[in-house]
Symmetry: C2
Subunit: 408 residues, 2 copies
């Protein structure tokens, strides 16, 4: 009689609203197959914590009720890390890591994360293959940036997009109460890919509605064109709301947020880093002499459990449970990916893709989805993004505030 | 037979999540008393718009369904203004204004707003009394700052406090995923009164939980003490979340956000204004060499309809409907105020207060509710604030996003 192999799960990279839903999906599906798997462990703080023997037993320590709450808890229940495995497979770190995996009798290793986490899954699966070690390495995608290739979209994006669109719609209301001319600049996350900024288009209720201008990192940014765009918009309305990606850059590839004067220091002699929203706020003030405000949505974009998309949560759980089924088929070196069957009514299914083809690549918005003006999105993008924000996540409240699950 | 007098309502100052609930309360109560009142008009953009004959008929133009949606719509449905009436009652503006009021056969004038709006109600009621003009002027309080005197609290504060506490709790989750030492500084609204920043204490789940330090404008801020506070907190935990009011100032009364170097200009030669969160971010980086981030919640604090407190919405509506009843009793020169009967179970009732005693004064947090350390709140404050954030506002959604009411 062979001992059943155990499952090990890690979370890595920046948190999202639904990374715990994927964790929950793996645990729930794993528990259904007690004939195949032994314990289900979770690494505390990813690979980095695991190397220091920090892990917990998820199959033993979580009640049914806690598992349910886990699915609706944002951030990363297990803790995260930013730890890149060395390129050199002769590094002793691999020996240490695989000794620990074998000591825990791990048969399946799940890493939930973005690009860098897929790099980890890629390296570990290749190392295992080279050394004929029988452990499946699977990646579960997660990133609000939606920039992973070979998948229709990534878990985490739908909730962040819903948060951005809802919040922009509320800021539009707030910014439109005065009759005086004003410009409100909303800075959104996305250093290289504009998916999240693009989602602000959903806030519009009709054509020409706010946000009137949307600037993405995919389109070279020009201050002169920006000024002309604002002039044109002011001929139609008094209150302009403009959404910009933190990563907008000029034709030479310089980030706008690098446009500050080098003499910009605080009283302690430290250089102050300024986001592109603040830079544009100052530019518009100078050029137009109107009321200008910039708002940076910051981490709230990725950690709002209260505005999560139920579709996103369901799909994140599905990615986890599908991962367990893939492992049972012996799949390794794969990432679980989403394939879209139809926009209306929306239909998708999971598949697996070679993780080596995914890591260290980046998916930007196709240029055919960006209007010729460079400051707006097409109907095709709307058709793509709309299904992903549908459904309101259940809100579990306690004394007027969100109740989430915390590691003991 | 005398013609029935009409009602006129204006909204003024910064928007909140529930200023429209008060508007809804007035309209609904007004419609119940058709024997007393004729039409119910709304000024578009407050006094400023009304002086240009911008107003609408609320009793005719809003359906029952629209009125319901109005109660859950943030910002200011009628539009707002920042317009201070002159101190000099011989100014021709008063003659113009009262001519317009009399032309519209106005019997009751409601102004929903904060400190400045109460100043408007005060002046208009005094002018009317001096000229024996039979119009009731009533103020309905509204401010997320909670800084009006002679009322237990103000409509708008509960929802903003709920948003702050929920969001801080989510940022705490987000900021705690890595094991490395980090400091996250959350800058909250409140230039002179720290009520909103104080509400972040609600995010704590137990003693010593994040946010570990809370700085209010009521307590003189010292960078040296701030540094010692952080050192002490780091002896207990790795991830520190610190909430600061935008209005923190040193013992000499200098705002911290004025601590930037005068040479701080952008590439266009413009002075950059920096919030105190950013200033402290740089200070902590320099002093502690750890990961530091600052987050400014900005206007989202006041315009989030999705996180509104149902208690706040109910009370805002109540303030409006009570105002109509007060007008029927002939009250004028009054603000509707809230009196608390009990904390647990929470019970309050409305009353009226002399608006002249309210305008141009400011209510800060009592010093007995601030811990001796100056960086925390007492149990008394918790007892005060907890009832105000209870209940989740109904969410009316449309295609995955909030559905709000807009003026046609």
């Amino acid at each position: 009689m062979t001992t059943k192999k155990n499952i090990l799960i890690g979370q890595s990279g920046g948190p999202t609203a639904v990374i715990n839903a994927s964790l929950c999906g793996i645990v729930k599906e794993g528990l259904k197959h007690k004939d195949c798997f032994g314990e289900i462990y979770g690494m505390i703080n990813g690979i980095e914590g695991f190397l220091s023997d920090h892990y917990m037993n998820l199959s033993q320590d979580l009640s049914e009720e806690e598992l349910q709450l886990l699915a609706y808890t944002p951030a990363a229940y297990l803790g995260s890390c930013r730890f890149k495995l060395p390129e050199d497979f002769t590094s002793p770190i691999y020996v240490t890591l695989f000794e620990k995996l074998q000591a825990l009798n791990i048969g399946v290793f799940f890493y939930i994360g973005g690009n860098d986490s897929m790099d980890t899954a890629s390296k570990l699966s290749r190392y295992a293959a080279a050394h004929k070690i029988d452990i499946c390495f699977l990646g579960i995608p997660k990133t609000i940036d939606n920039d992973l290739v070979l998948t229709d979209h990534t878990p985490g994006y739908g909730s962040a997009a819903k948060y951005v669109a809802s919040t922009v719609r509320e800021i539009v209301l707030d910014s439109s109460v005065y009759q005086q001319k004003s410009v409100t600049i909303i800075e959104l996350m996305g250093r290289h890919a504009g998916w999240l900024t693009a989602a602000s288009v959903l806030a519009r209720k009709h054509a020409l509605d706010n946000p009137v201008l949307i600037y993405l990192p995919e389109v070279p940014f020009s201050l002169e064109q920006f000024k002309r765009d604002i002039e044109a918009a002011f001929t139609r309305q008094n209150n302009l709301i403009i959404c910009v990606s933190e990563g907008i850059q000029d034709a030479k590839g310089h980030f706008l947020c690098e446009y500050t004067n080098s003499s910009q220091v605080d009283n302690f002699g430290h250089k102050m880093l300024t986001g592109c929203g603040k830079i544009l706020e100052n530019y518009v003030k100078e050029q137009f002499h109107v009321k200008v405000r910039s708002v940076e949505l910051n981490v709230c974009q990725r950690c709002s459990g209260m505005m999560a998309s139920q579709t996103d949560i369901d799909e994140a759980m599905l990615a986890g449970s599908f991962g367990v089924l893939a492992a049972m088929e012996g799949k390794t070196g794969c990432m679980i990916s989403f394939e879209r069957d139809a926009d209306v009514p929306y239909q998708m299914h999971c598949s697996t893709q070679d993780v080596n083809q995914i890591c260290n690549r980046e998916k930007c918005i196709p240029s055919s989805w960006i209007c010729e003006s460079g400051n707006d999105l097409t109907e095709d993008f709307l058709r793509y993004v709309t299904p992903l924000i549908q459904g309101e996540a259940q809100r579990v409240m306690e004394n007027g505030l969100p109740k989430y699950l915390y590691r003991k």
